[in-house]
């Protein structure tokens, strides 16, 4: 029996523009389990990113509730939410979103300080260790504008990991990368998951989605279906790919 780490109940999200309302999420119920690599897929405009940001508390919801480790986060104060993001959540975005005037090392370390992940020495050591693990140690003293997209994204994963998050959110983490870099980033995420890291990722890339052990399919603001897989690497990759593709095909992908 898996432990639920994040629970969304009857999540609604409506955008209003020029007085016109557009409903994006139509009452979603979803549980995210500890240790899982959960992937959200769906067609363009289905509400994948909206769901990710609603579940992570990065955006407000119009209705329903989101609970993380038993605590309802949709009602947390701005300060408490910031603490939660610092200590329990990690984020990886499609664009790397590194602070432009900080080096890669500093981008990671600053997040460590925000998460109070130790004293200054410990944070420096941990930053070095994470950058090494993410194969970004050679670029650590460069600014985001001076490194490749892959290096920047790997540093962004290191930044997301420095606070030992309970859950790592990833929004199209390979969306802006070439094939080689995408492969490397996904392998790193998989490695983190195998080390016990819970991950919730949104993607439209089947190759990326295959790294998850649970895939949710979103359509018109609702979860249409889900596919459970064995941990990535424990099965035949070709068969895994065919399995995912036929499942997606059955959903009209």
């Amino acid at each position: 029996m898996k432990n639920t780490i994040l629970c969304g109940k009857d999540i609604h999200k409506t955008f209003t523009q020029s007085g016109e309302e557009t409903q994006i999420l139509l009452g979603i119920d979803v549980d995210i389990y500890e240790g899982d690599f959960t992937v959200v897929m769906g067609s363009s405009g289905a509400g994948k990113s909206t769901l990710l940001y609603a579940l992570s508390g990065m955006d407000t919801i119009t209705g329903g509730s989101v609970t993380f480790k038993g605590q309802e986060i949709s009602k947390l104060s701005e300060k408490k939410m910031a603490q939660l993001r610092a200590n329990e959540f990690g984020f990886v975005f499609q664009q790397t979103h590194l602070v432009s005037n900080l080096t890669l090392f500093e981008n990671v370390a600053v997040a460590g300080f925000a998460a109070k992940a130790g004293n200054a020495k410990e944070i420096r050591e941990k930053t070095d260790m994470l950058l090494l693990k993410m194969h970004a140690e050679n670029a650590k003293d460069r600014l985001p504008s001076q490194v490749s997209g892959g290096e920047a994204q790997r540093a962004a994963i290191a930044r997301a990991m420095i606070g030992n998050p309970g859950l790592l959110f990833a929004d199209e983490p390979t969306g802006a990368l070439n094939k080689a870099n995408s492969e490397e980033v996904m392998n790193l995420l998989t490695e983190l998951n195998h080390d016990g890291q819970s991950i919730l990722m949104v993607t439209h890339d089947v190759r990326a989605a295959m790294h998850g052990n649970r895939i949710l399919y979103l359509e018109d603001g609702k979860i249409l279906d889900e596919l459970n897989l064995p941990p990535y690497g424990n099965d035949d990759l070709k068969a895994r790919e065919n399995n995912v593709l036929s499942w997606l095909s059955s959903l009209g992908w």
Partner: protein
Amino acid sequence: MENKILLKANLKRHKGALFGIFILTLLVAAALGTVLTVWTNSENYIGSELDRSGYGELTAWVENLSDWAGLKNSIEALDEIGRVETQSLIYSNYTANEMESDSEGQLITYIPTENRYRFFGDDLSGYTQPPESILPGEVYVSPSMVSMFGIKLGDEITFPIARAGKNLTLTVKGFYEDVYMGSSMIGMKGFLISEADRATALDLIHNAGIDALSRDGAMLHIFPAKESGLTVSELNSLLNEQTALAEYTESVHSKDAIAGFMLILQNAFSGILLAFVLVLLFVVLIVLSHSISSTIASDFVNMGILKTVGLDSGRLRLLQLLQYGIPASVGLIIGFWLSVPLESMVINATLTTTGVLIPATPSLLFMATAFISILLLLALFIFIRTRKIGKITPMKAIRGETDGTVTKITKPAAFGSNIHFRLAFRQLLSGKSRYIGAFVVALLLVFFASLVGRMDSWLGPDGKGMMDAFNPADHDIGVQSFGELTQEEFEKTILQYTDITDTYVLAMPTASLNGISYTANVIDQPERFHILEGRTCTADNEIVITEFIAANFGITVGDTVTVRGDSGSGEYIVSGIYSCANDMGDNFGMNREGYLKIGRDHPNLWCWHYFLADSSQKGAITEALESAYGGDIHVHENTWPGLFGIISAMQALLVLMYALVIVFILIVTVMTGSKILLAEQKDLGIYKAIGFSSSNLRLTFALRFAIVAVLGGLVGTLLAAVITDRIVSSVMKLAGISNFVSHPNFIGVVLPMAVVTLFFAAFAGFVSGKIRKVPLTVLVAD
């Protein structure tokens, strides 16, 4: 049409920044219009009123002369003289509201048909019809008596005409405009009285004989002949050489000198404010510069797109010019328009200090010139600052290139202990061009606030700085006997209160130097003079002169001059330049032995000056001496009633200046801060995403401005410390003060920087409230 559409869109898009420009230019124009109008109108008005009220090119105040007509005729007989007009008066000390005057008053007989004076309504809000006559027992005074003595209608002023209590007590019936002695900067005051009271006073003087305390006298308004080519100084010299005028002269002043006395306050404060307004104009340029850079950065893509549809750089720059020119022009027009009621307010509010109601009529030509000059300056500046637009290409814009990409690592590291401070410092250094404006603004504002603060500290809470500048030598209290009373007698009274630690004697007779009449400061201890250059006059053939006399005559240390007193004349060597702002620097100093070679000695000539062990006893000693010896004695402290007006004006100036400083900081911070926040939306989102709260981010944002303000403030404070004394000395020379040296205390040094830093940080904190509204979805927008 497309220009109209684009301009309208730009005005809408940048409305916040443009509103800031509007407010700044409005404030600058309002202050500039007010200061310049007050300044120029004061000068014109005093000049024209001196002409209208019959002051000659030279006016001599004479006394104790039995044959007025003879002296007048002998002056008029000179070829260089056109005519001489006489106004009779009585010199007398006076007491108002239990305060004894420091200088003599002049009781001037009011002759309605002469139409010399203008009268104020009872509430001092404007002029009223002159009285048909002044009744016996009534007196009209200058409005400056309000600030100097707290005078109000119905108060009594007592003039001790002779000993044994023979006083003339008059009731204040109204106020008149005295364009010669009306300013509170001038100790001497004029009193308009009736012919009957003049007759009464003259009777008392004549009957009292040697017991008379007041003196009969007159003003001789001397007009040069039309064909005369002599300067006023040459005219003065001619009169001293060829007539008996010098023997009866109390003082002689040119019309320009009189205007100079009257305008000291207006000129000094207008000068300071004008300098401040120029600083503010510079601040406007800095803010404008920052705003233009930010606008170009944020509109980079739009401008590139507009270029793809055929708009050239010239057109885009013209649109920028109009975008900023419109709010600036509107601000300037409204500001200059607002300056008209402001002028009236300033003039009315300062009437009881300046004594004159300067016309508030603005000069349209002058306003138009100022408006066009500032507008041209702004236009030129905008034109230069928009050069970057020429470098925008459609491809650059489409690729999303801007100048804002950080490519250089800035130390120190943005982590470690005190992360908020380090982050703020790092953000500051990596985006320093965004903060240069705030830095320079902080520097200028702190510099100017420090400068005025140093002036205030020089003045001191009791005006000691200014008194020391006006006195030839320092002292706590001065006592002059007019009768038989001896030094030993009044010293006994002083010693009942406190010990006397030091003493010297000083006389201030009129004497001529190279033919021109000046006040001679004669002292028995010449080492007490404030020497600026050379040495003091220790020998009996030496004198010291002020910088102003040195400049007037083109003489310096080592030169020889002729000095004439009331018993002879002699050659004297200038041994040094000294500082004494009395008579706007028109005076010289001698030692006692030197003066007695050319001047008559008399016990009553000398004023005893004392330094007291406990100077707080000054007031009590003055009161005791006056009540014990009445009219036989004149006591003065190191102050004069007009000083309080100046101290109040200086404090009002400080308050006004700090208010303007705060408004400017608010606008600069709001404009700069808003642009920075807009540019940093994504970074703010990132920081929020990794766990920084809005409070943390607001703190780092406010810290950035605090750091900028501290850095700017430090430079401003240092600059003020280095150049204030030089700058202020050059301005103070207008008032005859040449030894301005400020010694502010620690709080005085730190206060401007602290205030500026505090407000920068506070307003930045206020502006950063927008951080709360930065959604994390800003990171999704890509």
